[in-house]
Every structure is written in structure tokens, then in C-alpha cells.
């Protein structure tokens, strides 16, 4: 009922505000950010960042509501947005490089990257290897030696199953260390948050997480430590002590773009409203601090720029997935 009414309202309103179309679209009624995982992971951080930035920039009157829809690291949410909630103007869904990787492998069902409307990327994160603070491993190379000695005894946790970006980071590191990636034990979680919890319980030995969610957990008091970041160079601030994977002999970079998309049938006006809202928010003076507090680096892209970035990334990931015999059709 609500959606039909809303749709008609937009259609009627459009001619009246034609002169100032770009600014004319009203802010959506009940804005919602779907983090397609369990709380505490990268998607959660993405939504929380949007929540803070949009509020700080005063773009939204009502605070952005964050909801969680776990299932296949975004697969369920993607399918829901493409199939059921196609035209909700107030709903944005967080995505990451991992979502694009899964899209490239066909893990999001019978959909591709053209089935949604990509709104904005708001920053970039990097992959990280995180272990308990009291772990015997002090470096990524020590951990890979441990896996080499007895692969069956080391349990790697990952936000996502075989083929996910977390798995991909481990597989690429294993390949660089001369280990058969098929010999490694994996436990899949719905996002990095659950993995960090299992890590603290001693149920997994290491998580192939992201810098953002790992550091968030550490900042929250979790007894964890980072062994490596998959970044081209050391990160600024308190992460400066963590060596890159390349420094430890594993020449792997894994940047994680974070951003949002909306449903395919969301109107151009509403889509444009979100694009401008994010542009405004990311231009705000306090935005840099917000990023830094979440251990993210800026990567502001919106609209067409983001669309072509996504297209390129999916193509690149498709090639990578083929290298690891992951593509399923």
C-alpha cells in the first residue's frame, strides 16, 4: 500500500519541481541501510559510516536506520533487492569488493552487476589477517609455516564461504607460500563480526578479515592482533606498526571498496537524491575524521564513475576467480 502511494506521489510531484530537479527530490521517508551480514562486520561499518556522515552533513533529518540481512555475504540481500524490494527509494544496501567478487562468480544467483543501481563508494578498506592476541604466530610468514606443517590443524575463519574475498585472500597467500589452497580448512561466517567472535572463543585460529572491522573489534577491547594488511604500503595512524603482506614476502594487495546500491526500479530522482546526498556528505569537513576513526581511506566515487569502476572490477574478479577454478555457471 505504502509503496504504491509513494510512487504516485513522486510521479505527480515531478512536473512541479522541474526547474530545480536535482535538489527538488525530497529526502526519503524512512531511510534504511541494509548491512547484508551479521552485525559487527564490514557491512555494518559501512552502514554506520553512512549513518554518521549523512547526519553530520545534515542531509537527513531522520537518522538512517541500519538493519541486517545476513545470507551469503550479500547474496540474499541482492536477490531481495533485485526480486522483491525493487523500488524502495529509502533503502540503500551496503556492498564491498567481496560483493563484486561474488557477483563475478555467479554466487548472487542469476543476477549480474547491471541489475541494481550503484550509488556511491565511500571509502576503501584493506584485507587483514587477524589472530588472537596470545597467538603463537607473530607474523604472517610464521602462520603460513604452521599451515604448511599441518594444514588440517589450522582452522581459518572467513566472512564468506569458498570463493568469497576472505577465502580469496587466504588462497592467494597460500599460493604465494607454495601451499595447495585446497588443503586449508575453512569455516565460513556471515561477515567478519562472527569470525572475530569465534576467534576470541578459540574456535578458529585466524580470520581473513578486513582492517576496518578488525580494528573496530580491537578498539572495542577484543584481545586480537593483526599479522598483516593486504595494502600497498603501511596504513597511517595506529595501524602503522602492522606490516604489509608484501613486506613479509607475500606480494598481495586486497583493497576493499565500500559503498551502496539501490534497487533497479528506484526512480532517477530518488537515485540522484542519494548520489548528491553522499557527494555532500563526503565533501563535509568532518568526513576525513569519520573515515580515519574507522580505519578507512577515502575513495569517493558516485554515479557513472562508480558504474564503470564496478564493471571493471567485476571483469577483473571474473578473471581471478577463473584462476582459482571458482566460476560456477
Amino acid at each position: 500500500m505504502f509503496r504504491i502511494t509513494k510512487g504516485r506521489a513522486t510521479a505527480l510531484a515531478a512536473p512541479l519541481f522541474v526547474l530545480s530537479a536535482t535538489l527538488a527530490s525530497a529526502a526519503p521517508d524512512r531511510p534504511e541501510c541494509i548491512a547484508p551480514a551479521q552485525p559487527g562486520g564490514g557491512f555494518d561499518i559501512t552502514c554506520k559510516l553512512a549513518q554518521a556522515a549523512l547526519t553530520d552533513a545534515a542531509v537527513l533529518d531522520a537518522p538512517l536506520r541500519v538493519s541486517y540481512m545476513p545470507g551469503g555475504i550479500g547474496a540474499v540481500a541482492y536477490s531481495t533487492i533485485v526480486g522483491q524490494r525493487t523500488d524502495e527509494p529509502g533503502t540503500i544496501v551496503a556492498f564491498s569488493a567481496g560483493s563484486l567478487l561474488n557477483l563475478a562468480q555467479g554466487k548472487f544467483g542469476a543476477h549480474d552487476e547491471t541489475d541494481v543501481r550503484w550509488v556511491a563508494s565511500i571509502g576503501t578498506d584493506y584485507g587483514a589477517v587477524v589472530v588472537p592476541a596470545d597467538s603463537e604466530w607473530e607474523s604472517l610468514s610464521a602462520m603460513m609455516e604452521g599451515i604448511k606443517a599441518d594444514a588440517g590443524s589450522v582452522i581459518l575463519g572467513a566472512g564468506g564461504t569458498i570463493g568469497s574475498q576472505d577465502w580469496m585472500k587466504a588462497a592467494m597467500t597460500a599460493r604465494a607460500a607454495g601451499i595447495d589452497h585446497k588443503s586449508m580448512r575453512f569455516v565460513a561466517f556471515e561477515g567478519g563480526g562472527d569470525c572475530a567472535t569465534a576467534l576470541q572463543g578459540g574456535h578458529v585460529d585466524a580470520c581473513m578479515n578486513d582492517v576496518g572491522d578488525s580494528q573496530a573489534a580491537i578498539d572495542g577491547g577484543a584481545p586480537l592482533k593483526l599479522l598483516a594488511v593486504f595494502a600497498p604500503e603501511r596504513l597511517p595512524g595506529k595501524l602503522a606498526e602492522v606490516p604489509t603482506a608484501a613486506e613479509q614476502g607475500f606480494d598481495i594487495e586486497w583493497p576493499i571498496v565500500r559503498g551502496f546500491y539501490v534497487g533497479p526500479e528506484v526512480s532517477d530522482a530518488d537515485y540522484q537524491w542519494w548520489v548528491e546526498a553522499f557527494e555532500t556528505a563526503m565533501a563535509a569537513p568532518g568526513y576525513g575524521a569519520l573515515l580515519e576513526s574507522r580505519s578507512l581511506l577515502p575513495l569517493p566515487m558516485t554515479g557513472d564513475e562508480l558504474n564503470s569502476f564496478v564493471t571493471e572490477a567485476v571483469a577483473k574478479y571474473r578473471t581471478l576467480a577463473a584462476e582459482f577454478e571458482l566460476v560456477q555457471q
Partner: protein, 479 residues
């Protein structure tokens, strides 16, 4: 029963029994163990599977679809209580059958085809470790993202160490118990046999304490039934020894008696000769004396032959040899030809040119045939015919002597049929040419050789006496 250092000390009875019994018992125990292993495994599986089923239910309760997504509350706290009872490791995977969602141990082997609402258990291998998996599929209601007929699959696996350890414990206990039972059986066997043989040891003591001339029968009463036949055999043996001892005593009496008469006659003749002056009459006395001496000499050699035959039974078979029958018969005939001629008796030998050979002691066989011919000549009417024959068949050699005399009495034949020995004649009505020892000697010799003496009266009159000698004479038979 023999305690003395025998060349091969017998195996103890309890060990013989144990050697028969224990391997079979062992086999039966192993076989029953193998059978119960299968049952035990099924019982263990069903018990351990039940806890897997419980874990599946508990995880199912932790699955939420309220957000429109599919979330699982991490089941690790649940596993911690679960693992307290199961020693191994617990693995899990929650997934949708369309493959979009996969949470947990991603590399668990794919489950077999599942039926909605049913828990399926199966064995699998996970990173080279055997695991037991319980898998359960149920429809997702409501389905995610509006999909149709979407199912949720929950798999729980545990490594099988704990159920293997349980099985090992049960099986090793069963084996220990069986082994203990086996040892107890062996012990009881030894004790039982020891107790059961106590009457036998008492019997041995009774025998050991006997005086050497005590030939009384033993009383088998109070002995185990299995041993009574043995006691009766011993009694029979003792009895035979007694009879034999008596026979020997009688033999000495008889021999003394037999020799006493000619000696008395000789003494009388000498006395008579001393009173004679007439050289012619003295010469007559001396001739009579010579005849008596000849007969005495003959009697002595007969007695010696009898003793020899009896002793021979005690000798080893070393005296036995291959005896050529043709040569033997020739020798016997030559020996008796003069006495036969004296009475115009015709001696015929009816034997094949190559009569073959028998395995025997030559002197004894010669004596036996010689005795039969002597008897025949004595019994034969003057001018009669005596036929000696040899017949061979597969099993025996028969040497027969046939005469035309009066035959023998029915009483004598009956005694022979009954297997009785001839006794030496106790009384002698007249001092005849026969010493009367002949048939007793022949019988004794046949017993020594394992042969048989057969006497038969012939229809028109006459006697057929034959020696039946076995072909393969295995050895000397105890007399």
C-alpha cells in the same frame, strides 16, 4: 601311569584335553566377538547419533530469518557443552539448497540426497579424519528473497574418536573377560583332572606295594568307569601269568616224571646185568639198555625242543629268516626215511618245484614238521602211504601231512577247536614209541610263529595235520 624315567614321558592328560578344548573355545570366543562387534557398533552409532540429532535441533532453533536474511547465532557455546561429552571435534554447516548461503565448515563433503524433515546419518572423511555426519533438510518458511521451494540444510559432524574409543573400551573389556574365562577353564581342567585321577594314583600305590608273588585280582570297584576296563585287562594279564607259571611248574614236574621212569628202568636193567654171568644174556641186557637210552635221549631232545619253542616266544625276531620249504621238506623226509622203510611205509612229497619260502625260525619249523611226520609214521599202518604237501595262497602257506592211520579222538579235536593247549600226558599207559610230546611242541611252535595247527580226521580213515603259516609274518608273537 609309569613314573620311572620312560624314554618318552607321556603328555599330561589335562594338557591333552586343553589342547583340544582351548583352541575351539578361543575360536568360538573370537567368532562371537566379531558378531557382537557389529551389534556394538550399531548400538554405539545409535547412541551417538542421538546426540547429533539433538545438536541439529538446537542449531535449528538458533536460525533466524526475521530480517529477511538468514542468520545463525554462532553454535560454538552449544558445541562446548556437546564436546564435553564427545571427545572429538564438532563441525557444522548451515546452507540453503540453492547454494547462496553457506555458514560453517565450508569443506564438509556434500551430503547424500536428503528428504525433507528427515535426519540422515552417514560416515565421511574430513581432512583425512573419519567423521560421522547428521544432515537435516527442512523447507525455509518464508523463503528468502521470495524464492520458491527453498530448503535449509543443517549438517552436524563429529570426529569419531570418542565412539571409536567407546567401542575399543567395550571390546577390550569383553576380550579380557573372555580371556579370564578361558584361563579359568584351563585351571579348572587341570584341577579337575588332578582330582579325577586320584583313584588311579591310589591304584598305582596298591600295585607298587604288592608282594612280587601276589597274583590276586584287583577290585575295580571305586575306580572311574573309564579305568575299570584297564583294571580288568591288568587282572587278565596277571591271571595269564599265574596260569603260565603253573604250566611251567607242571612242565618241570612232567619232565622230571618222564625222565624218572627210564632212569628207574635203566637202574633195574643194570642191577639185572650185574647178576648175570652169561655173556650172551648180558649182551641182551645191554641191548635193552641201549634202546632205553635211545628213547631217553629222544625224550630229552623233545623236552628241549619244547622248552626252546617256549623260550623262543621271548626272544626277539632275530632268529627268523627266509626258510626254503623244498629244502626243509627234503631234510625232514631224509631224517625219517629209515624208520618209514622199516615199516614199508611210502613217503610222498606233493609240492611244487618251487615251493617258495616262509619267514620263520628254521630249527623250530623243522622240528614242527618233523614231529608231524613222526606222528604220522607212528600212526600209519605198515605199508601205508604218507603224503606231505605244500600249498601257497595269498595269505598263508599250508604244510600238510596226511596219513592212513586211525585219526585222533573227538575229545582232542574239540580241545584244539577251543584253542586249548595240549598238556603233556600225565599218565602213560605203556612206554610206547611216542613220547606224547609231539603235538604240544608243534602247537607251541605255531604260537611262536603266529601260525596255526589244524587237525582233521579224513573220511575213509586217517588224519590230516596241517600247519597254517601267515605269509607276512610280522614278528614273533608273545606266547
Amino acid at each position: 601311569m609309569t613314573r620311572a624315567a620312560a624314554p618318552a614321558p607321556g603328555r599330561p592328560l589335562w594338557r591333552t584335553l586343553a589342547l583340544w578344548m582351548l583352541p575351539i573355545l578361543l575360536f568360538l570366543m573370537v567368532a562371537s566377538l566379531m558378531l557382537s562387534m557389529k551389534t556394538l557398533r550399531e548400538v554405539a552409532d545409535s547412541a551417538y547419533d542421538r546426540s547429533l540429532r539433538g545438536a541439529i535441533r538446537a542449531i535449528d532453533l538458533r536460525i533466524s530469518t526475521e530480517s529477511g536474511g538468514l542468520g545463525v547465532e554462532l553454535p560454538y557455546p552449544l558445541f562446548e557443552s556437546f564436546q564435553a561429552t564427545a571427545e572429538g571435534e564438532v563441525l557444522f554447516r548451515v546452507s540453503t539448497d540453492d547454494g547462496l548461503v553457506q555458514i560453517g565448515d565450508a569443506l564438509l563433503p556434500a551430503p547424500p540426497p536428503l528428504t525433507v524433515g528427515q535426519v540422515v546419518f552417514y560416515d565421511a572423511i574430513y581432512f583425512n579424519r573419519p567423521i560421522r555426519v547428521g544432515a537435516y533438510m527442512r523447507p525455509l518458511d518464508p523463503p528468502l528473497y521470495g524464492a520458491v521451494g527453498q530448503n535449509l540444510i543443517i549438517e552436524i559432524a563429529e570426529t569419531t574418536e570418542s565412539r571409536e574409543a567407546f567401542l575399543r573400551t567395550v571390546i577390550s573389556r569383553t576380550m579380557l573377560r573372555d580371556l579370564a574365562a578361558l584361563l579359568a577353564a584351563a585351571l579348572l581342567l587341570a584341577v579337575g583332572v588332578h582330582a579325577g585321577l586320584r583313584p588311579l594314583r591310589a591304584l598305582r600305590d596298591r600295585l607298587d606295594l604288592r608282594a612280587s608273588d601276589d597274583l590276586r585280582q584287583m577290585d575295580p570297584a571305586g575306580l572311574p568307569r573309564e579305568v575299570q576296563p584297564l583294571v580288568r585287562s591288568v587282572n587278565r594279564l596277571v591271571d595269564r601269568h599265574r596260569i603260565q607259571g603253573e604250566a611251567q611248574r607242571r612242565y618241570i614236574e612232567d619232565a622230571s616224571h618222564q625222565l624218572k621212569t627210564p632212569l628207574a628202568v635203566l637202574r633195574a636193567q643194570i642191577d639185572r646185568g650185574l647178576q648175570l654171568n652169561d655173556p650172551e644174556a648180558l649182551h641182551g641186557v645191554l641191548r635193552a639198555m641201549r634202546e632205553i637210552t635211545d628213547r631217553s635221549s629222544h625224550l630229552t631232545s623233545q623236552l628241549l625242543a619244547l622248552a626252546l619253542a617256549r623260550n623262543s616266544a621271548l626272544w626277539s625276531g632275530s632268529a627268523a629268516e627266509e626258510v626254503d620249504l623244498s629244502a626243509l621238506l627234503d631234510g625232514v623226509v631224509r631224517l625219517h626215511l629209515p624208520s618209514a622203510r622199516k615199516r614199508r611205509i611210502v613217503l610222498e612229497v606233493d609240492a611244487p618245484a618251487d615251493a617258495g619260502a616262509v619267514h620263520a625260525t628254521e630249527a623250530l619249523l623243522f622240528e614242527a614238521v618233523s614231529n608231524l611226520l613222526q606222528n604220522a609214521i607212528t600212526a600209519s599202518p605198515a605199508g601205508g602211504v604218507i603224503v606231505m604237501s605244500v600249498q601257497n595262497d595269498a595269505e598263508q602257506t599250508v604244510i600238510a601231512v596226511r596219513d592212513e592211520g586211525p585219526g585222533v579222538s573227538d575229545d582232542l579235536l574239540r580241545r584244539l577247536d577251543q584253542g586249548l593247549r595240549f598238556n603233556l600226558p600225565r599218565t602213560r599207559p605203556s612206554w610206547s614209541a611216542s613220547t606224547g610230546l609231539g603235538l604240544a611242541i608243534v602247537q607251541e611252535i605255531m604260537a611262536t610263529m603266529g601260525g596255526r595247527l589244524v587237525l582233521a580226521n579224513r573220511a575213509p580213515g586217517g588224519l590230516l595235520a596241517s600247519l597254517h603259516l601267515p605269509k607276512k609274518h610280522a614278528g614273533l608273537k608273545a606266547g
